[in-house]
Symmetry: C2
Subunit: 153 residues, 2 copies
Amino acid sequence: MEQKKTEELLKERLKEKGLKVTHQRLLVLSVLEQNSGRHMTAEDVYALVSQDYPEIGLATVYRTLQLLYEMQLADRISLDDGCVRYEIGHLFAGESKHNHHHLICRRCGAVIPFGDDLLDDLEHHIEKATGFHVLDHELKFYGICKQCLGKEK
Amino acid sequence: MEQKKTEELLKERLKEKGLKVTHQRLLVLSVLEQNSGRHMTAEDVYALVSQDYPEIGLATVYRTLQLLYEMQLADRISLDDGCVRYEIGHLFAGESKHNHHHLICRRCGAVIPFGDDLLDDLEHHIEKATGFHVLDHELKFYGICKQCLGKEK
DNA sequence: CTCCTTGCAAATTGTTTGCATACCT
DNA sequence: AGGTATGCAAACAATTTGCAAGGAG
């Protein structure tokens, strides 16, 4: 029913905006959901959706991911490898705060999620100090992962 | 002499690696330095270097920026507008901790630097908790800037 | 004199767009 | 029916690469 919930959420939001509920859109969301942990490129999603629905076009996947992002149903990050990635955050029905960060290994490229939310205070501070209304944040740490450290001379 | 310092730093590091000190490399660094506040794309740098040195090729600028980044002489960020940007952080002779963050307006695209370093504690915490050795971090806040908020109905 | 580096152009790669057709509502 | 979405192919834009010629050590 977690499953069901985001699907319903998508349908609602589509209707609100006069957009249509299509097979493709549901499939893209479902793939994202079944891989909620991974950071998926459009190609990744395309490959998976194609298994069930080979007729889908890559362009549709791009369009749909963008749509999901705009509707706050998907999270978007860049891992500096030249492509945008999407993932489903732990969304609590309507609340769409994205609260996990990433540790990126400069050596092997591993991406380790790191859940923590110490940034709320900082956000409030920013709002007060600059008048900037914070909606979301993205925090990445670069360094060397445990494995790579182990391999070092 | 701040000026002089990074140039010397570059020369040193090039020699260490058996690489060569070229006019182009010095010029790219110098342009970055003279615009230390801006987040510059390769094209931006290319345009500026071209004024003094029209023969330079765009590919060289790309190669040089990458090099400076690898040598920790330049900082690299992505503002999600589809191109990588570089800037010179306030580097304190050798120490290359990059400690300023960015507020990115979802409406007008403005990028507001935000200096603050509350993340050291968090970094230590991560190292202890995960064994990941943190070298650097990148923090972006997305939201609506003051001006755009003002324009709202 | 020997590699490293450059400039140029061509090649790649991720992503977007135009358009006729197919599909929701 | 009527407008939205789709698939395909072509268009794009940022970045990379191959290679012959030039330049630093």
